[in-house]
């Protein structure tokens, strides 16, 4: 019984324990080695951290839903870039350009619609053809990236609108817009997954798809909605980020899918589906960003971040495997 409790505690609390560990470690190492003049656990530093984790974080929230469903989406990075391009470019369209700053909401709308449309395409293919989501979105990752390039060739897309930058840099309690969007999205999707019928059905489908079908849950449309949701969130992430930066490179967003999946898995969501939580993913996103910043703080080269995160991901997997072992009675397969 105690072993069970310990297991559950480790499973659900592991990511937060890890975050605390990171904080303490970087604080102590940073001050002992006097490598850095500022404290690591500094309010401004922490607020900045939220902002920096927003682009991947918003996508990771959507990825959590997709993965709880038992699917995966490898195309979010390309969706992110395309939505960014559409947003910046649409502000120069003749119909919007006359609106002045009122073009901004339309540009956002266009970006979000783009994300939804791309998600819709993936979702429809997964639903109607029955091809595995991994393959569908692997193809879409290439295809959407192709669309990104077709838009503006290999040229970056610029459009700087100072009002939009102001909105992006607006903030309360030091939290900038993108950080607020990240927190808001996490909260809303958390509510969706824990309180609504759609959210509960997402777990049921990931857990036991056949049972869900037999119980009358319409799995196809359900999956479709989730793909539209992740497309929307990838676009929202682009809106939050590019409103401030005003420039999209056609290679932007590459490997975002892998970072998002890493955060989701660190947060305890199972690849096989059926288990996981938005809270865990939020922790996973923060943990990765903390690591990035922390390694910089103690003077480690930025290159080591990738190395450390990769090793931690594997260590988490190993730990999870150990915790789920049935002890010596296990069949040696």
């Amino acid at each position: 019984m105690q072993r069970e409790t310990l297991k559950n505690l480790l499973k659900n609390g592991a990511i937060w324990g890890f975050i605390v560990l990171e904080l303490v470690f970087f604080q102590v190492v940073g001050s002992v080695l006097s490598l850095s003049e500022t404290a690591f656990i500094d309010p401004d530093n922490m607020l900045l951290l939220l902002k920096q984790s927003a682009p991947i974080g918003i996508i990771a929230v959507g990825m959590t839903v997709i993965m709880i469903n038992g699917n995966i989406d490898l195309s979010v990075g390309a969706t992110y870039a395309l939505a960014g391009i559409v947003m910046l470019d649409s502000m120069t369209w003749p119909i919007f350009v006359g609106l002045g700053d009122w073009a901004i909401p339309f540009a956002w709308l266009m970006a979000l619609l783009t994300g939804c449309a791309l998600g819709l395409i993936n979702g429809l293919i997964v639903w109607k053809t029955g091809v595995d989501a991994f393959i569908v979105t692997l193809g879409a990752m290439l295809g959407f990236r192709g669309l990104v390039f077709m838009y503006n060739g290999q040229q970056p897309t610029y459009h700087l609108n100072w009002t939009m930058v102001d909105i992006a840099e607006w903030g309360v309690f030091g939290l900038q817009t993108s950080a607020l969007v990240f927190i808001g999205v996490s909260l809303l999707v958390w509510l969706m997954m824990t309180r609504t019928v759609h959210g509960r059905n997402a777990y049921a489908i990931g857990n036991n798809r056949e049972a869900a079908v037999n119980a009358g849950i319409r799995v196809g449309p359900h999956i479709l909605i989730n793909f539209v949701l992740i497309g929307f969130l990838a676009a929202l992430s682009a809106v939050a980020f590019y409103s401030g930066s005003g420039s999209v490179n056609p290679n932007d967003g590459m490997l975002f899918e892998l970072w998002a999946i890493t955060a989701v898995v660190l947060g305890g969501t199972k690849l096989a589906g059926g288990a996981g939580s938005i809270v865990g993913t939020f922790g996973g996103v923060i943990a990765i960003q903390l690591l990035r910043k922390g390694l910089g703080h103690i003077g480690a080269q930025t290159e080591t971040v990738n190395l450390v995160i990769g090793l931690i991901l594997i260590a988490v997997l190993l730990l999870d495997k150990q915790l789920n072992r049935q002890g010596q009675q296990e069949l040696k397969l």
Binding site: I125, V131, G139, M150
Partner: protein, 326 residues
């Protein structure tokens, strides 16, 4: 009986559909532009596909064995950077740099093989983690700098990427040779049989006394050997490399393997089909370039082709075009 004939036809299409599609595609393009099948053009296509192709050969083993390898792109960058850096290290030169690079790349392959094979960790996540870790390793090694061979006239290092033998580009020869050897290993040796068994049903393979862990381990060794070879070709061709030269290639490689008809569930696929998958990707790119389109149009075309190919495959198996999901 007509029904069985129809089934046989369907079965043939399902097995060889990708080959049929390839031939049709080649003929159509050749009719449209005869330049397409000129020998020079064919060689140039194969040469430019060689790096992707060599990697895909190794990944074929991993996928048939029932696993994934998302770390090959990252590992390609590593091997290219390492071989270039060692080449420039005083006292090394190509003769020492190349074997040292092979040893290191395959050492990383062994780590992945150990984690997936012996520790039985999920290959998607392990290789995802390794993708990131290897990238970090590469950056640490290079200090974030690009690598270049300073004195390109005084080394024979360039033959792997730029040389020709009997009028055939060396990369094409290496790709062809490796494909032939690996095709024989997979189709004709006990090890190849075991790879199919482990990927087809790992539990049954264990119950048949097949050392599953060791078989999986060696699929990753083969994969890393192929990556090292691809890295050699890459470094040799450009005599220099960026830290991110292989970025994103893992998924293109996987796309070629899937296009060839290997199932992600394991247990099916062949080296020959993978080569076809690689060539389709290469010729599409080439055909589109000849048609005056930009290189990125092929991304969109590849997307459509992958989904159509896999869809056709499962539609034949289930006997229905559309998925029965409500």
């Amino acid at each position: 009986m007509a029904e069985t004939n129809l089934k046989a036809l369907g079965g043939l299409l399902a097995r060889q559909g990708i080959l049929v599609a390839f031939v049709v595609f080649m003929i159509a393009f050749a009719l449209w532009n005869p330049r397409f099948i000129e020998i020079d053009n064919v060689f140039s296509v194969i040469r430019s596909s060689a790096i992707l192709g060599v990697m895909a050969l190794g990944v074929t083993f991993v996928v048939i064995g029932g696993n994934l390898d998302l770390s090959v792109g990252s590992l390609l960058s590593f091997s290219a950077i390492v071989v270039l850096d060692l080449h420039e290290t005083p006292g090394f030169g190509p003769a020492l740099a190349i074997p040292a690079m092979y040893a290191m790349t395959m050492g990383i392959g062994a780590v992945i093989g150990f984690l997936v094979g012996y520790l039985k960790l999920n290959s998607l996540i392990v290789t995802l983690g390794m993708l990131s870790a290897i990238h970090g390793l590469t950056l640490t090694w290079s200090g974030g700098q690009n690598m270049d061979i300073a004195n390109q006239q005084e080394t024979w290092f360039g033959i792997f990427g730029r040389g020709t033998a009997l009028g055939i580009p060396i990369p094409v020869l290496m790709f062809g040779l490796l494909a032939a050897v690996l095709a024989i290993i997979l189709a004709k040796t006990p090890f190849g049989r075991k790879v199919y068994a482990v990927g087809g049903n790992g539990t049954a393979a264990t119950f048949s006394g097949i050392p599953r862990a060791r078989v999986v381990f060696f699929t990753y060794i083969i994969s890393s050997f192929c990556v090292a070879t691809a890295g050699l070709i890459q470094a040799s061709r450009t005599m220099g490399a960026q830290n991110t030269v292989g970025q994103g290639m893992e998924l293109e490689v996987l796309a070629a393997v899937i296009l060839g008809g290997a199932s992600l569930l394991g247990g099916s696929g062949t080296v020959f089909k993978t080569v076809i998958g690689v060539l389709i990707l290469g010729f599409i790119q080439n055909g589109l370039l000849l048609a005056g389109l930009e290189f990125y149009v092929q991304f969109v075309v590849t997307w459509i082709i992958i989904i159509l190919a896999v869809w056709l495959d499962i539609a034949t198996k289930r006997g229905k075009l559309w998925s029965p999901i409500a």
